[in-house]
C-alpha cells in the first residue's frame, strides 16, 4: 500500500525548476494553514481557498488563522508559501482507516491468545 505523502512542514526553495505560481497551486490543494511570505518581508498565516492564476492580475484568496477574511493577495505580492500548518487530510483516507482497523483486530486476536495490545480506529 502506498504511503500517503503530505507537504506538511515543507518550506519550498524557489528556483528555475520551481516557480511561485507552482507553489501557490500546491498551496491551493493543501488542506492546512500555510505561511504566506510577502515580498515586503512580512508574513501571514492562513488557509488558501482560492486562486486565479490566469486572471489579468493573478491573485489568491485566504482566511487568516483566526478565521478573518477573505483576504486577497496578488501573486506579485508573494515571495513564497510555506506549508506550516497541520495537513488535515493526512492519514484520513479509507485505506488508512482500514489499515488501522486491521491492526486493531490483529492486536485483539493477539490479546485473546495471551499477548498484549490496545484498541485503535
Amino acid at each position: 500500500m502506498a504511503e500517503e505523502k503530505s507537504l506538511e512542514g515543507w518550506a519550498p526553495t524557489l528556483d528555475e525548476s520551481l516557480t511561485i505560481d507552482e507553489v501557490i497551486e500546491m498551496a491551493f490543494d493543501y488542506r492546512g494553514n500555510t505561511t504566506i511570505v510577502k515580498t515586503d518581508g512580512s508574513a501571514v498565516e492562513g488557509y488558501i481557498f482560492n486562486r486565479a492564476a490566469e486572471a489579468r492580475e493573478p491573485f489568491l484568496e485566504y482566511f487568516d488563522k483566526s478565521g478573518g477574511g477573505p483576504f486577497t493577495l496578488t501573486y506579485s505580492q508573494i515571495a513564497n508559501v510555506e506549508f506550516s500548518g497541520k495537513d488535515a487530510a493526512a492519514g484520513k483516507s479509507w485505506e488508512a482507516w482500514q489499515r488501522r482497523k486491521a491492526e486493531a483486530k490483529a492486536r485483539e486476536v493477539a490479546r485473546s491468545t495471551g499477548a498484549g495490545g490496545e484498541n485503535g480506529c
Partner: protein
C-alpha cells in the same frame, strides 16, 4: 417512483421554462453547504478536512437566501458537514419552505431525534430529511467509522415518519459493496416506510488523498446491474429512473456539472460538487466564466473519467426526459412498470 407528483410538476415546469428561454445551462439543485463541521469523521470524506478556523465558519441565513435567489433552482439540498450542527437550521428551513423551495436536509441523523423533540421543524411537502445510510447496520457503521450510528438513524427515521415528515435515505456505495446486502438494505428501508431511496456510487474528492478506493465505471455498472436484477416493485427511489439505468450501463450520459451548483463559505464552487478547482464570487460568474468544456467524460479530464455520481448525472437524466422522446418514453415506462 418515490418523488411526489407536485415536486415532479415543479421540476418539470422549471426544466420546460429553461427550454423555452433557450438556456443551454441551468441549475436543478442548489447544494447549499452551510458549514463543513461534522459530528462524524468518515474515511475519505474531503468535506471536513480543513483547519479549525475553517470548520468554525458558517454561512449566514442571509447569505444562504441570497444564494438561493441568485441560483433559482427549485430544489435546495443542504449537505455539509452536518447541517443539524448549524445553529440557524430551523430558521433557514422555514425561510426556504416559505419560498416554496423543495428542501432536502441531508443529515447523518445523529441529532435528528433531539431536534424533532425540540420542535425545530414543521412537517411540509417542501421539507425532506435525507438520511445518510450507506447500507445495513454493519456496513453503515463501518462506512462512517463509528458504531451505533445506524441504530440512531433508524430511530430518528421512525420518529420523523411518525410525526409526518418526508424521509428519504441517501446511500453512497463504495468498492466492495455486496449486491445481496444492498438489496436487503432496500427491503429494510422499504419496510421502515421511507418515501424513497437515493443512490450514488462513491467518488474521490480531488483534495482528499483517497484516489483508489472509489468505484470505477465498469465495476459500477456490474454492481448496480446485480443490485437491480429482478428489481422489487416495492422499492421506491427518489431519483430519475434514467439515472438508475445509467448506473446499470443501460444509458450513456455526459455529466452536467452546472446541474447541482455548490455554494459554501468559500463562494460558488467550480466546477461541481465534487471537484474544487476554485471559486466564483457570484452564480453568474460561475455559469459564465467556468471552462465547462474542460470537464465531463468527453473532455478527457482524468478527474471526470470514472465519475458517475448523482450530483453530476441526475441533472442529465432529468434533462434527457424532456429533450428526447427516448428519454421521455424510458422514464414513463420505468415509472409505470417499476422496472429498470
Amino acid at each position: 417512483m418515490g418523488v411526489p407528483l407536485t415536486q415532479m410538476m415543479t421540476v418539470s415546469g422549471h426544466v420546460l421554462k429553461q427550454k423555452l428561454l433557450r438556456r443551454k445551462r441551468y441549475p436543478l439543485v442548489l447544494m447549499l453547504e452551510v458549514l463543513f463541521k461534522c459530528n462524524l469523521a468518515c474515511a475519505g470524506c474531503g468535506k471536513i478536512q480543513y483547519p479549525a478556523q475553517i470548520l468554525k465558519k458558517r454561512l449566514t441565513v442571509e447569505q444562504c437566501l441570497g444564494a438561493v435567489e441568485e441560483c433559482g433552482a427549485p430544489i435546495v439540498s443542504i449537505p455539509g458537514g452536518e447541517p443539524l450542527l448549524y445553529p440557524e437550521i430551523g430558521e433557514l428551513v422555514e425561510e426556504l419552505v416559505r419560498r416554496k423551495k423543495y428542501v432536502y436536509l441531508c443529515t447523518n441523523a445523529i441529532l435528528l431525534k433531539k431536534k424533532l423533540e425540540e420542535g425545530l421543524f414543521t412537517p411540509s411537502k417542501y421539507l425532506t430529511f435525507s438520511i445518510h445510510l450507506d447500507g445495513m447496520q454493519a456496513d453503515h457503521d463501518e462506512s462512517v467509522c463509528q458504531d451505533g450510528v445506524y441504530d440512531r438513524a433508524v430511530e430518528a427515521i421512525r420518529m420523523a415518519l411518525g410525526l409526518g415528515f418526508r424521509v428519504t435515505t441517501n446511500t453512497t456505495l463504495f468498492d466492495g459493496a455486496q449486491p445481496l446486502r444492498v438489496r436487503q438494505f432496500f427491503d429494510d428501508m422499504t419496510e421502515l416506510g421511507v418515501e424513497g431511496m437515493m443512490l450514488s456510487p462513491g467518488y474521490s474528492y480531488s483534495k482528499a488523498p483517497d484516489q483508489e478506493h472509489f468505484l470505477r465505471k465498469q465495476n459500477t455498472n456490474l454492481l448496480f446491474s446485480e443490485i437491480f436484477k429482478e428489481k422489487k416493485k416495492a422499492w421506491r427511489f427518489n431519483q430519475s429512473p434514467l439515472f438508475l439505468q445509467f448506473l446499470m450501463g443501460k444509458q450513456d450520459y455526459e455529466c452536467t456539472p452546472w446541474g447541482n451548483p455548490t455554494f459554501n463559505v468559500f463562494g460558488w464552487q467550480r466546477p461541481c460538487y465534487l471537484l474544487q478547482e476554485g471559486y466564483a464570487h457570484s452564480f453568474k460568474e460561475l455559469m459564465e466564466e467556468t471552462r465547462w468544456a474542460e470537464y465531463g467524460k468527453a473532455s478527457g479530464n482524468p478527474k471526470c473519467r470514472d465519475c458517475m455520481v448523482h450530483s453530476g448525472f441526475e441533472a442529465t437524466a432529468v434533462d434527457k426526459t424532456f429533450t428526447s422522446w427516448k428519454g421521455f418514453k424510458d422514464t414513463v415506462a420505468a415509472t409505470i412498470s417499476g422496472k429498470l
